[in-house]
Amino acid sequence: MVRWDSRIQPGLYSGYLLWTMISLAALSTLTISFANVLFFDAIQQVMVFGAMALSFDYFSGYTGYYNLGFGAQLAVGGYVFVYAANGGLNLFLALLLAGASSVAFSLVTSYPVMRLRGGYFAIGTLALVILLYMFDVNLPEYTGGQIGFHVNASTPQIALPLFIGSTLFLMVALLVHLAIGRSKLGLTLRSIREDEGVTQSVGVNTFRAKQITFCLSGFFAGLSGGIYALYIGYVSVQNLLGLGTGLLPVTAAVIGGTGIFIGPLVGVILLTGLKLTLPSAVATVFPTLSFGPLVYIGLLLVVAGLFFPQGLLQVRFLRRFANARPDRVLTGRLQIKKIPAAPPQQDR
C-alpha cells in the first residue's frame, strides 16, 4: 500500500523542505554557540514538542480524524523508555523499545477505536488517555503513581547530545511527514478525509490505511515520549498523562495548520512563545488567581475552532505562502495563482 507514485507529485525533493532543514540547523548551531540558558531551553522545547505535533499530524492531519488519544501513545513510550533506561539499557535501544511498544499499543487499540467515525472517534480515543490515567493512579507500585520515577540517565552532561539528537529527530519527522503526503498512502488518507464511503467503494481498504498511519504516528509518538521523559527528567501521571501534556501537540498542530508539514512546527513555535510569556503576564493582571495549562489550551482551541478550524496556514490569505518556496517569496518571484471561486451552490 505504501508505494511511490511519480504521477501524484514530483519526488521527495522540495526546496521548501530544504530551506526548513537549513534554517533549523542554523537555529540549533546558533543556540549552541549562544549559550544562553533560557534561549537554549526554549529552542529545546520547540524541538521536543515539534516532533510530537508532527507525529500527531501524521494521522490526524491527513485523515481528518482527531486522535485525542495521542497522550496515551506518548505516555506508553515515555514509561517504557524510563523502565528500559533505568534497567540499564543503552539509551538508543531504550528509545527504539519505547517506539516499538507504542506501536504495539496503537496496533491493539486501533481495532476497537477505528470502528468509530467522525466525532465519536475523538471521544473514543480520549477514553484511552483516561483509562491509562486510571490504571496509572490505581497501580502506584508499578507506575510510581502521582510521584513517578526519575530518569537515571538524565544528567547535565547529556544536555548537548539530547539537543542535537532531538533536532535530528525533528528533521526526520519533517521528512516522514512530507513523504507520507507524497506517497500513495497519503493520497488514500486524503481521500478518506474527503469522503470515506466513496474511498471504500473504489476498493480501498480504508481500515488498513488508517491502521498503518495510526501505528506510524504511534512509533514517532513513542520516540518523542521517550525524548520528552529524558528532557523533563522524570515521569509521573500529571506529567505524561495529564490533559495538559497530551493536548499540547494537538493544539499546536491545529493552530499551525493540519496536513502541511510546516504547520505543526509553526504552531509549536507560537505555543512555546506563549507558554514562556503568557503565565507571567497573566500573573501580573490577576496576582491572586492561578490558572492551569488547561485554561490557556481551552481558550486557544475555542478561538482556533471558531475562526480557523484548519489552522493558521490554511487561512486563504496565508495559504499561498504555505505552499510556496520561501526563496521565491523572498525574491519576489512568487506567482500568485488566483484561487478559483467556488461553483455556485444552492442554499442548503
Binding site: 470502528r115 467522525g118 471521544i123 477514553a127
Partner: protein, 302 residues
C-alpha cells in the same frame, strides 16, 4: 473477603440505576445534538458539572431545596444551550463536512478544557475541592423491610418521569417528529422546508438543560469536582455505542444497563477485596472497548 449485607447491596443497586439514569439523560442529549446539528458536544459532561455547581451554590447561599432548584437550573441552561447553538452556527455552516467536524471538535473540546481549568481555579480560590449538597440530610424509607435511602429513591423516580416525558416529546409531538426527521436525513429535511438551525437550537436547549438536570441529581447523591466532565462524556459515549448510534430507546435502555453493571462490578470488586470505588470509573471505559470489538452496531440495531 467481606460479604456486604442485602440492604447495602440493594442500596448500591438503586444507586447504580440512578447513575444509569443520569447517563441515559446525558446520552440522549448528546446523540440528539449530534444528529440534528452535527456538533459532537465533548463539553456535554462539563455542563453536568456546571448544573451541579449551580444547585450547590443555590443551596448553600439561598438554602433553596435542591429539588426546587430545578426551576432555576432548567431555564438557565436552556438559555445557555441556545447561546451555544448560536456560537456554533458559523462553524457548522461550512461547506465541507470535514471542516464542520474539525470546528465542532475543537470548539467543544476547548470549552470542556476551559470549564475544567476554570473550575479547578474556582475550587482553589473558594477552598471547596468538590461540590455537594452537604446539609441536605434525609432519612430512609422502609420498603419490604429494607431501609432505602430517601434521596436515591426520589431522584430515581424523578429520572424515570423525565425519561417518560422525553420519549413522549420525541415520539408524540410535532417538534419531536421534526427532530427525528432532521436526524434521519438532513438534506431531505431541508428540502421539505424544515428550518434545521431552529430545530438544532431547540435540541441544544433541551440537551444542555437535561445535562444540567443530571448534574442536579448527581450532586444530591454524591459529590463532583471539576474533573468529572470528560469522564461523563466518555461514559455517555459508551451508552450511545451500546444502544446503537442515534437510537433513542437504545440509549435510554443502555444507560440503565451500564449503571447497573458498574454497580454490580463494584460489589464484586469489593467482595474480591480490591478497592471497588477506585476502579468503578474504569469499568465503563473497558466496556466501551469490549463493546466496540464484540458488537459495534449496538444492542437494538441489527
Amino acid at each position: 473477603m467481606v460479604l456486604p449485607t442485602a440492604e447495602a447491596v440493594i442500596n448500591i443497586l438503586i444507586g447504580g440505576l440512578l447513575h444509569g439514569g443520569i447517563l441515559s439523560l446525558l446520552a440522549v442529549g448528546l446523540t440528539f445534538i449530534y444528529g440534528v446539528s452535527r456538533v459532537l458536544n465533548i463539553a456535554h459532561g462539563d455542563f453536568l458539572f456546571l448544573g451541579g455547581v449551580t444547585t450547590t451554590l443555590l443551596f448553600s447561599f439561598y438554602s433553596v431545596n435542591p429539588f426546587l432548584s430545578v426551576l432555576v437550573v432548567i431555564p438557565m441552561f436552556a438559555l445557555i444551550g441556545t447561546g451555544f447553538s448560536y456560537l456554533m452556527k458559523k462553524p457548522t455552516s461550512a461547506r465541507s463536512p470535514e471542516v464542520v467536524t474539525a470546528a465542532s471538535i475543537l470548539v467543544t473540546l476547548g470549552l470542556s478544557n476551559l470549564i475544567e481549568g476554570l473550575g479547578t481555579t474556582l475550587s482553589s480560590v473558594s477552598g471547596h475541592p468538590y461540590y455537594t449538597v452537604q446539609l441536605f440530610v434525609t432519612g430512609t424509607v422502609q420498603i419490604f423491610g429494607f431501609a432505602l435511602n430517601e434521596v436515591l429513591l426520589l431522584s430515581f423516580i424523578a429520572i424515570i418521569g423525565i425519561a417518560v416525558g422525553l420519549s413522549l416529546l420525541v415520539y408524540r409531538t410535532f417538534l419531536g417528529s421534526l427532530m427525528r426527521a432532521s436526524m434521519a436525513d438532513r438534506e431531505v429535511a431541508i428540502m421539505l422546508g424544515i428550518d434545521t438551525f431552529r430545530i438544532s437550537t431547540v435540541t441544544f436547549a433541551i440537551g444542555i438543560a437535561l445535562s444540567a438536570l443530571a448534574g442536579t441529581v448527581e450532586v444530591m447523591t454524591t459529590n463532583i469536582d471539576a474533573n468529572v466532565g470528560l469522564l461523563f462524556t466518555i461514559q455517555a459515549l459508551t451508552v450511545i455505542v451500546l444502544g446503537g448510534l442515534a437510537s433513542f430507546y437504545g440509549a435510554l435502555l443502555a444507560g440503565f444497563l451500564i449503571g447497573v453493571s458498574v454497580a454490580v462490578s463494584e460489589i464484586v470488586l469489593e467482595i474480591i477485596g480490591v478497592q471497588g470505588g477506585a476502579w468503578a470509573d474504569a469499568v465503563p471505559l473497558v466496556m466501551l472497548l469490549i463493546i466496540l470489538i464484540v458488537r459495534p452496531r449496538g444492542l437494538l440495531r441489527r
